[in-house]
Amino acid sequence: MINGNLKATYAADERINNNAYKTAFVWGFAALAALFPFVANDYLILIACQYGIMVVAVVGVNVLTGYTGLISLGHGGFVAIGAYGVTIIHAGLTALSVPAGLQPFIAIPAAMALAAGIGLLVGLPSLRVKGVYLAVATLSASFIIIFLIELDALAPFTGGKNGLTTADPSFFGWVLDTQREVYALIAACAFATVLLVQNLFRTRVGRAFIAIRERDYSAEILGVSLLRYKLTSFAISAACCGLAGALFAYFYARVLPEQFELLLSLQLVAALVVGGMGRTMGPVFGALVIVLAPEFLKLTLGALMGSTVEAAQIRAPLQEIFFGALIIGFIMFEPLGIAQISDRVFRALNRWPFARG
């Protein structure tokens, strides 16, 4: 039972979940992100950018899997569409002599729209199949996407197995040609994506997604069109992953098909499960674990066991084992993810000193 606080209004009641500690955490996080490029070295910038890109993509998976209840193991393919889309569109705009300072404003939305379009197509089976069957269908779709990218016939556009060298984006003449500058773009997009998607679930569309997740035929009886909303969910989800792909292409100097294979799709789902499905902060926390845990393990085991060649040979498999154990641990002991743990912490802070947990 909640005690220690008298709730006299609905607003006060809501503050059980939306309390000052949470607000401070969000704004503190944003302030840290803004200050970060002024103090961080290049390695930390690299990790932060990998993290930001992962957050945007996992937010996309969250829309589909966390909120709409449709499982996908193929979202790595949508990231690939975004990455290749933005690179190819950039090249096309350059060929058409579109001013460089305007190109990202066209290329990024176009790549997202392309990913959304493919998302609609991939989402069609979701009208007939659910659960593991849908997971397999989406997995197959991602294989087809990678196959098409690698196809010799399309190689003049996609670079085939050699990949494509990506362009440095220019925003009204500000060329983002260092990782530190691209960080600003990634951080802004990550923050905006998290906020926009959170707000999506205050709308009619978002609530329709949640209704489908809870029981799809009940939702249909209530007047929610499954065709329309399942496909909308796929499109929004794919568009987020397309944005992640576009940021990926701007960040790395090259896009290669092998970067978007099964491993990436699995990482996206694992990040969501660890962070918390259907929660705003789920992707934020989950991506933190997926990106930072391997780095942290490398640094810790490196400090403990030394950096000799022999130690590295033993450390490498140990890192993989610890990482696997960490994921299993989360699923076993906190299936609702880190978002649930953080809820408990903030609730305890809010009620302190009267109650815990």
């Binding site: 390695y43 090259r254 290669l256 970067q259 780095e295 490398k298 590295a312 490498a316 993989e320």
Partner: protein, 406 residues
Amino acid sequence: MKHTSLTRRGLLGSAAAGAATLAMPTVLRAQPSEYIIGASLPLTGPFATAGQLIAPALSLFESMVNGEGGIDGTNIRFVVEDSGYVPANALANYQRLLASEGSNLVAYYGDSTGFMQLVGPELKGDQARMMTSTSFATELANPETHPYQFMSGPTYADQFDILLQDIAAKGGKTVAFIHSNTEFGTDPIAHGQARAAELGIEVVLIESTKAQGADIPTHVTKLAQANPDYCILQGYVTGVWPQLIGGARQFGLQTKFMGTFWGMEKLIADRVTAEAGPFLEGYQGVMPYRYSYDMEDAPRLQQISEISKVALAGTPLENYMPTWGIQAFASLELLTIALRRAAEAGKDLSVADNVAEQVAGIQDVDLGGYYGTNISMENNKVGVGRVYEYSAETNLFTPTSDWLTA
């Protein structure tokens, strides 16, 4: 007696001044206490076998170089990290090391074509270090597009060139190319076609397969229909010999099979022979280096053999250093020569341009027997190789050609 009081502020001030004085030599010193050479190896993942076999070579090389006085009196130290054969992981490893070691990091050893492609455009200003890797990708041998990356052997296109020269010299008239559907597999195919036409050899079949041995019988049927004198396999590390060559022999085909560097490892050929029979008898391929047992007039290979007997006693590498290890040795030897020359010239080794200049200046050098000839660096590669043939009886690869230049 005069009373002196020790206040906390005074103590902190003295400590700060002392620390600054102690730190002064570090700031002024031009040469670090040790030079760091970083490496990403696939110690886990699909190519873990290769990574785990290359790792001891780095360790032995470190002790060899430091035993000779390091680089201009300063020892080297390898810092190895696992990449899992994921290019982005290797890039993170490189940038992590760059951040932690700064100017002590003087060179890097990469583990894949993908990593070299990904890191190439990032090598700018103080983010650049000289690099070599396990890759022989044709694209990388270009000082204009990849100024800080070099390879210690011929590109895959050059390796095809050498094999085709050998086929022409032995009177071969027709050839088939069977390659994996990977970047590694497709790399030299176009060049191979053009070169075969120049040499008057007809390419009767170009066949793309999966990298692992699924669905091989259909390819064997096509090979049987084409019935070429020679068949060059490209883009496989293991896996296809039993199905493809074994299958062709069951068909009664007399085609001679050939491979490139990654298809020339004795440990794998021995294992396949032990498990599946002697069908690799007569298998040929191009090698940029000598095998570690071919030690005559090769002081470096003799030295590796001696220290391996002690340092790697009880392991499969005790009496034989794999070709992948020899590749690492040769690449690092070239790197060390360049680093030593740059150090002797008083240059800063953490500036990639200084080392790249010395790498390009390696001409007509005897490297101590890794190669059977003096070598020169041209277009960031060493374009020599020799054709070897495997004997299932002796389990040895022996040379069947002279050293050829692509």
